[in-house]
Amino acid sequence: MSTAPSTQPTSIPVFRQVLVYGGILALAIALIGMVVGGLTVGGVGVLSALIGTLMAVVFMGITAASILLANRYAGNENSIGAFFGIVMGGWLLKFIVFLVLLLLLKDQPWIHPLVLFLSIIAGVLGSLVVDAIVLFKSRMPYASDVVLPPAPHDD
């Protein structure tokens, strides 16, 4: 019995780890931001810190999620086109949504701009650190995506 060779790239577990650890970090930064925002500004600061951290981590995570989604089409005839279409399309969509969200949030009375801004920076830098740590610790074999031809039969 022979199983079909996997055409999935070896990067999939790495991106899953990036998303999981990014989520854990988001919780930590959101908690710290909410405490600091609440102590300095009050209830508005708590909400701003929560929204800012969520925005940063969700928008940074969309890249990894889009690569994971695009890898589902690996092995197809147009897999490279689909991959870059999904990843770059996700990137464009992400920035449009980010711009619209900031426009909508900017003049809301329940938002403290400075706390929101600092939370976004903390979330972005924190997720960069998590990405770097996960990628440096990941062990990926060379050339494991290759599909070898079947062994010849001796009959």
Binding site: F84, M88, F95, F98, V124, A132
Partner: protein, 77 residues
């Protein structure tokens, strides 16, 4: 009408220029990162997994600049 007068007539929110500046750099950077990854995958498809990871960290560091730049534009205006 001389150039100084034309420049003085420009009105609107100058922060839109900030958005443009925040978008140009990361857009060029991500374009280079993705383009080079396409080249690499086209040459050696079996390395797609490793190249994707390197591409991801390149995109992450480049887009961080864009996020902070765009957020600055909205928060401090």
């Amino acid at each position: 009408m001389d150039a100084v007068t034309v420049l003085a007539e420009i009105n609107g929110n100058i922060a839109t220029v900030g958005y443009g500046l925040a978008a140009i750099g990361p857009a060029i950077g991500v374009g280079i990162v993705v383009g080079k990854t396409i080249e690499g995958v086209a040459r050696q498809p079996e390395l797609a997994g490793r190249l994707q990871v390197l591409m991801y960290i390149g995109i992450a560091f480049t887009e961080a600049l864009a996020f902070i730049g765009i957020a600055t534009y909205f928060i401090f205006v």
